[in-house]
């Protein structure tokens, strides 16, 4: 019956995203927020924290923080793109680090699941600090549909 969930309905998408994100302890630990899931390109964000720094002298975020947030956000994009509610697992993920993210500013992650097959969801993401055109990093990933249906 969950196959009949209308995943195009922005209210339903927001509810699914909130439950997905709320159910992941690490997302909660780092404070990952769901910003916008109404469209196909979804947006999450992290507020700046001192413990996210990689190079305190230069005042730069560590790239691994964005990496972990990209994994979560890409997963959410795939989860929302699949017809029902089913479990997924990251198969592989690649990051290109274009420029460092600077301290005191937040980090936004925009992800889009651009293709789904019977077994796999393909997704790409852009990480930025407010200007999408000045991306901090780019991400591409593939997620496996592990097959189990979830109860809402």
């Amino acid at each position: 019956m969950y196959e009949q969930l209308d995943k195009r309905d922005p209210a339903i998408r927001a509810e699914i995203a909130a439950r997905f994100n709320g159910g992941i302890p690490y997302n909660q630990a780092i404070g990952l927020r769901v910003v916008d899931v109404a469209g196909e390109r979804i947006v999450t964000a992290l507020d700046y924290r001192e413990c996210f720094l990689g190079d305190p002298g230069a005042g730069l975020w560590h790239t691994s923080v964005g990496l972990a947030a990209a994994d979560s956000t890409c997963g959410l994009a795939v989860f929302l793109a699949l017809p029902g509610l089913e479990t997924i697992a990251t198969l592989d993920l690649r990051m290109d680090y274009l420029r460092p993210a600077v301290a005191e500013q937040g980090l936004w992650i925009e992800a889009e699941c651009y293709h789904v097959t019977r077994c796999v969801g393909f997704v790409r993401a852009t990480l930025h600090q407010g200007e999408r055109e000045r991306a901090v990093s780019l991400c591409t990933a593939a997620f496996m549909r592990t097959g189990r249906q979830l109860k809402p």
């Binding site: 302890p25 190079d55 691994s64 990496l67 592989d92 290109d96 680090y97």
Partner: protein, 151 residues
């Protein structure tokens, strides 16, 4: 394996972790029994690293973070860099889900040129012969002045 003989974390290695706040946040440990042995990077388990409470499994992003940080430390130590080398790119293959337990990682510095170091890393939990993830990354060496991508 010589697991009964606990490998030690040296004071110098503790300073390195403390210099990178996100590594300190993950409570990373750099362990090396002696100079001749490969460095082992450990991410001690804690509940907030969980990604899937049902399995339970660690969040893939924490495993990826461990691998990226380990490779960064490996370049920093092996190449005697005075500043933290920045990654140019990174990619990871997830081979098995990570159980709710410590993760360990070992790195291979494949090539180190004048500007770029290329590294691989593998992560396991109970058995090094059953790795849970593999990663590779390129790092920009910063011995050369004016190579800082932040500028």
């Amino acid at each position: 394996m010589s697991d009964s003989n606990e490998s030690k974390t040296t004071a110098i290695h503790e300073d390195l972790v403390a210099a990178i706040p996100y590594a300190a946040y993950l409570d990373l440990r750099i362990e090396q029994a002696d100079e001749a042995q490969a460095r082992i990077y450990r991410m001690p388990y804690r509940d907030e690293l969980i990604g899937s409470p049902r399995l339970p499994a660690l969040h893939g992003g924490t495993v990826a973070s461990l691998l990226e940080l380990a490779m960064q430390f490996e370049v920093l130590i092996a190449e005697a860099q005075t500043r933290i080398p920045y990654p140019v790119d990174f990619s990871i293959d997830y081979w098995r889900s990570a159980a709710a337990a410590d993760c360990l990682c070992r790195c291979r510095l494949i090539r180190s040129g004048r500007r770029i170091a290329q590294v691989q890393a593998e992560c396991w939990q109970d058995d090094p012969d059953r790795p849970i993830a593999f990663a590779r990354a390129d790092f920009l060496l910063r011995a050369v002045e004016g190579d800082n991508p932040a500028e």
